[in-house]
């Protein structure tokens, strides 16, 4: 995920302090991975340098100064461009698993075992997501569904590979 674009997008509804941005990000997108303050401030410095945000005001308090950021027209255009650009699909996500399976075959280990163990691990993650989905709100459900469908796609690959192990063994040990 592009943190910069996400923070920019959050600024479109109005100027915010760095702390508010972090809180909004964590609430809507952070879930398992909340942002570090350092990430927020380094990202905002970069956006400032690139003219995508400006400092809208500074509040002096007992602690460090609190900058309030506002998005610029260039920032809005950048968010628009990001939203309109499709993400690159990652067709080789399975390469590590493929390597493990082939290595198992080459070294005369049980490749079905590799696949079964991976399936079990995937299902373990799917159980956690399913449970979270059942207890969560609509946002949780949609986020978990996205992860679940990806894990399910991996599992389909695992099943298909398991069904083709004999042919794969022939091919790689030829």
């Amino acid at each position: 995920m592009s943190i910069g674009h996400t923070l920019l997008g959050l600024l479109e509804s109005g100027p915010r302090h760095g702390y508010d941005l972090k809180r909004a990000f964590d609430e809507k997108f952070g879930h398992d991975r909340p942002l570090h303050y350092g990430q927020v401030y380094s990202t905002m410095s970069r956006l400032l340098r690139n003219g995508l945000v400006v400092v809208d005001g500074i509040e002096a308090g007992s602690g460090p100064e609190r900058k309030r950021y506002a998005i610029t027209d260039a920032g809005i255009t950048d968010v628009q461009r990001w939203l309109a650009t499709p993400e690159k699909p990652e067709p080789y996500l399975q390469s590590t698993l493929y390597t493990k399976v082939v290595l198992a075959l080459l070294t005369h280990r049980d490749a079905a075992d590799v696949l079964d163990t991976q399936r079990s691990e995937h299902l373990r993650s799917m159980r956690i997501l399913t449970d979270r989905k059942r207890k969560g709100d609509l946002a949780d459900q949609l986020i978990c569904d996205h992860a679940l469908f990806h894990l399910e796609a991996d599992l389909r690959w695992l099943e298909l590979t398991a069904a083709r192990l004999d042919k794969l063994r022939e091919a790689v040990t030829r």
Binding site: D116, S120, M126, T130, E152, L155, E159, A162
Partner: protein, 229 residues
Amino acid sequence: MTPPAGSLLWAEQLRKAYGPTLALDGAEFSIHPGEVVAVMGPSGSGKSTLLHCLAGIVTPDAGTIMYGGRELSAMSDAERSALRRSEFGFVFQFGQLVPELTCVENVALPLRLNGSSRKEAERAALTWMERLEVDELRKKRPGEVSGGQGQRVAVARSLVTNPRVLFADEPTGALDSLNGERVMELLTDAARSTDAAVVLVTHEARVAAYSDREIVVRDGRSRDMERAV
């Protein structure tokens, strides 16, 4: 071997052949009350045969199945039939409801077959239909309800006798994702609340994710992934 402590249904070394085809070749299984176990594996791996053996529908050629401390193969056909009617519940993928009966009559049917009065059976049926959120369909016939609704009616029927084991063979196979998930939520919630064990045959990972653990059947042999890890 002896069944693990607390297991409700347990099997070992099951073999079953259909002609020259070996459907089960040393399969094992165990489940505790309140547990949901997914039986996974590719088509033709033997998972449905395993379910049918465990439920006493099919007799294995060899091996042992123990249910509640009794050996299934030592029971008479009549005893096994009685067991299936009173202690086991079944949900399948298709065509389980009797088209001529209303939904509430369908749900009440297992109780009627067990000798309950119509009033008593339909009262219990309605309680389960409410839990499965299909009580408003009570007077409709199966042909008048959607696939997802019909499947929930079938789940209500499978639970109406308060079975100790629920056998579900691809229960969401004919449903879309949303309906399938709702059926699984309701089915597993209902089973857990009554401490029923669920043997869930599925090839769908999203459905298996509602289970507590899975066993994988391949070439008639089973592998308990929890014990394997």
